[in-house]
Symmetry: D2
Subunit: 282 residues, 4 copies
Amino acid sequence: MFTYVVTLQCTDTAGIVRATSSAIFNLEGNILENDQFTDPVTGQFCMRTRFETPLDDVSTIRSRLDQDLAEFQPQLGVRLENERRRVLVMVSKVDHCLADLLYRLEQGDLPVVIAGVVANHPDLAPLCARYEVPFHLVPVSPATRDQAEETLRGLIEDLDVDFVVLARYMQILSAAFCAQFSGRIINIHHSFLPGFKGARAYHQAYERGVKLIGATAHFVTSDLDEGPIIEQDVVRVTHARQAQDLVALGRDIERSVLARAVHLVGEDRVALVGQRTVIFSQ
Amino acid sequence: MFTYVVTLQCTDTAGIVRATSSAIFNLEGNILENDQFTDPVTGQFCMRTRFETPLDDVSTIRSRLDQDLAEFQPQLGVRLENERRRVLVMVSKVDHCLADLLYRLEQGDLPVVIAGVVANHPDLAPLCARYEVPFHLVPVSPATRDQAEETLRGLIEDLDVDFVVLARYMQILSAAFCAQFSGRIINIHHSFLPGFKGARAYHQAYERGVKLIGATAHFVTSDLDEGPIIEQDVVRVTHARQAQDLVALGRDIERSVLARAVHLVGEDRVALVGQRTVIFSQ
Amino acid sequence: MFTYVVTLQCTDTAGIVRATSSAIFNLEGNILENDQFTDPVTGQFCMRTRFETPLDDVSTIRSRLDQDLAEFQPQLGVRLENERRRVLVMVSKVDHCLADLLYRLEQGDLPVVIAGVVANHPDLAPLCARYEVPFHLVPVSPATRDQAEETLRGLIEDLDVDFVVLARYMQILSAAFCAQFSGRIINIHHSFLPGFKGARAYHQAYERGVKLIGATAHFVTSDLDEGPIIEQDVVRVTHARQAQDLVALGRDIERSVLARAVHLVGEDRVALVGQRTVIFSQ
Amino acid sequence: MFTYVVTLQCTDTAGIVRATSSAIFNLEGNILENDQFTDPVTGQFCMRTRFETPLDDVSTIRSRLDQDLAEFQPQLGVRLENERRRVLVMVSKVDHCLADLLYRLEQGDLPVVIAGVVANHPDLAPLCARYEVPFHLVPVSPATRDQAEETLRGLIEDLDVDFVVLARYMQILSAAFCAQFSGRIINIHHSFLPGFKGARAYHQAYERGVKLIGATAHFVTSDLDEGPIIEQDVVRVTHARQAQDLVALGRDIERSVLARAVHLVGEDRVALVGQRTVIFSQ
């Protein structure tokens, strides 16, 4: 038996669930997991279904679903579960998020393939070597950003990348690049957004005297720190913690929030509805 | 339009989702919320569906679903959403759980009807009077337990009670009573089960020097403190807290865990699969 | 034996701890609890000490400490532990925070005295009557604010109030009033500050699609929503929760955060250092 | 200036704080951090003080404190803060706890020295090599346990080890060994003790249907899984998680709980009072 993950999004109408379940039944499929949500504000219907079937051809599955559900004009995603999403990780110099992703991957806890790592500094090449992940040095300066992004586009194409993870990548991507890969770039922000935007978030948090600090994984849009939130978490801090302590505590929460976001997106559990995400968590 | 909540449980087979969604479609229904889960260990399929339809008769809905899904031999639950589950709350002398349920009900945060309160002591009658909830004094002694349970059965019948909530009720119900109302009695246990069973859980927790204390809401079975868990939560404690402090902190966590469990069961979000619960949370 | 709580704040110098512990020793005191913190940024030293002694006169204790510690020019607080802090609670129409404070007080979980409740609407008078707490209706309009604050000042004086709690009081106090009672007014803000300032915080949170919502208890300054934070907490929410659900979930977190803040301030566990608080928690 | 960490434990009497602060004053010390706790049940007084002084000789400090505090017959610990505690980590085959400790050490987040790693299997030698930490293979069988423990004793002696960390070490140490190093061996247990003792804790947790799983770091005593608890934490799980998922989720919580415990013990923040720990956390 083969297991497929199907995602579907369209305007809500009566009959979608029936049509989808009939289509899967006609594919000799047995549904293992099914999640759906209708957003009451936008009227968008989102669905994620995992089913098994003796059919082993993803293109057949896709074309049959396309045909059977045509009247709903859905955005449709079909993936053989064993064909894991391919991720390009982008970093600068700090390693805690990348090290954690590599570690979890090695443990078998992260259901994706890291197709490569792109960095604008050479510092993390040895870490990638340690885990035998291809490392691509793509330096960026204001003058060379367009060219660097061209290189990125080439890598995304060549490595057949499904989505990009900014694992503390300290460069700003152009609005055009963000728009082109809308919903396909995840960033980890070192604060409980919308709390402290911009740089030195932990120093701002210290100054403000907050009692919890947090991290936010979100999709990247051209509007910096404003993209749809995927996952957030917090950790309690006391007055005795100074700004540098918050940075250290923050590393822990950043890496676990990012790992959870990559896990969710890697399993197609995240749908985008306007500026909000729908999370079909386990 | 009328909104219905349907729950369904049966052995998993291909076609159930299709059959259910077709049946709802035939009832002119539009699905608003749909959750399902197949337990891989037992092969049990559980589903909860909320849909709206112009049909206003719950018995029609039920008989049509019974008919259309007969081949799956499901346990089927059908409820008009506006007809709230009716709850009988049982208490002894301590009031924090009852006071919280009444408070949340008044706030409109608890989607049930409290059909009555039963107590084996008169202490909480004034609290019930304050909220205009009928109070039934049913004293219990070893000699009169059978008779007291007979009175309870009568109240459950007369008040048309869907489920019973033991809100720190300090008497043990007979095995026969537990069996008769299996899956319909919720208890709040003053510990993070299976941590500290039996009485004086907070004193045990203090002795053991735990760093977190918790509470557990579970269905009652004849096997004391062993029924299926609905909800649990914990709160951090330090060495500076003595046993009586833990009791006070525990009150807070008990009342919120119990309220969440009542909320979940009241909205038909809890399915029972063997000794485990499936929670279709929001 | 009599138990006293002493708080002390001054510029850090070698010898303060020795001088304080000697002073307490000379008062025949035995220290039960002692917390101290030196803020590395401001150089401020804060201390809270609880000790027991056979001496039963708070003014003797105070004058002896004043004398023995004069060289450090400390801000000194001395309280007989049994003489609980007196609180004035201010409300408008919503009752969840006030109801929770009254409930906890009745349970013996809140170590303060509620000297009275002030409201700018009559709605919560019956709740206060239920708990036999004096209710003072002080209506406010732009034209009468000065007069209303004059009434407030009178109540604070007459009722011998230690601190004021804004339990969802929907009026803005004047800068002069905030300055006069600096460090003596606690507010509960319905968001995880600095996340969503101003009104309709939960609606903002919904729009932004956050995955956690929170509440913040802080001291009031003339700079709205910017005063020193005392306590914060969060609760997880999903995409399925709409703005009105967040309001309901928020009530729960608001009331518990506020209760914890009142508890901390009531036990003299909160010191103010610049715009940050030092919390000597248990 | 030199910074020292002093820990002190004795029977509570009036005057200890005064005597200690005087002794430190006489050492030209300025107290940076001071925590103390008197256990009301046992009457034990515990203290941890961090102070700076121009004196650079730890043995002078110690002998002066010994002399000045002799009347209290305290257990006294004195450490130059820069001389970090030396840790011996023991492992078997699973690497997540060790990998995390090494990673945090490299990040500068773990204030100890890992003097060496002992394993009863060779599997984790490459991981140690990667971080340039000495790896000692000490195989154990029922027949050779005594000899293996003799080797361990030798390593503890030779490497000047302060405490031992069992980072998922799957062998049971002898009662004699546990007694000899009482309060100096930390274990991470894969459950929220006292919830699921013994092996296959996550499978037990799955069977029981718990809604939170946890991990516990505790001191090792000859009474398996019963030693004093240092730190615990939990993570929420749903019905959709099977036993193997709980194992994976558990890895995350185990490694962070263990790291926090090592951090606390490494900074002398943990005192033992009977079967309970006093934690002087930041």
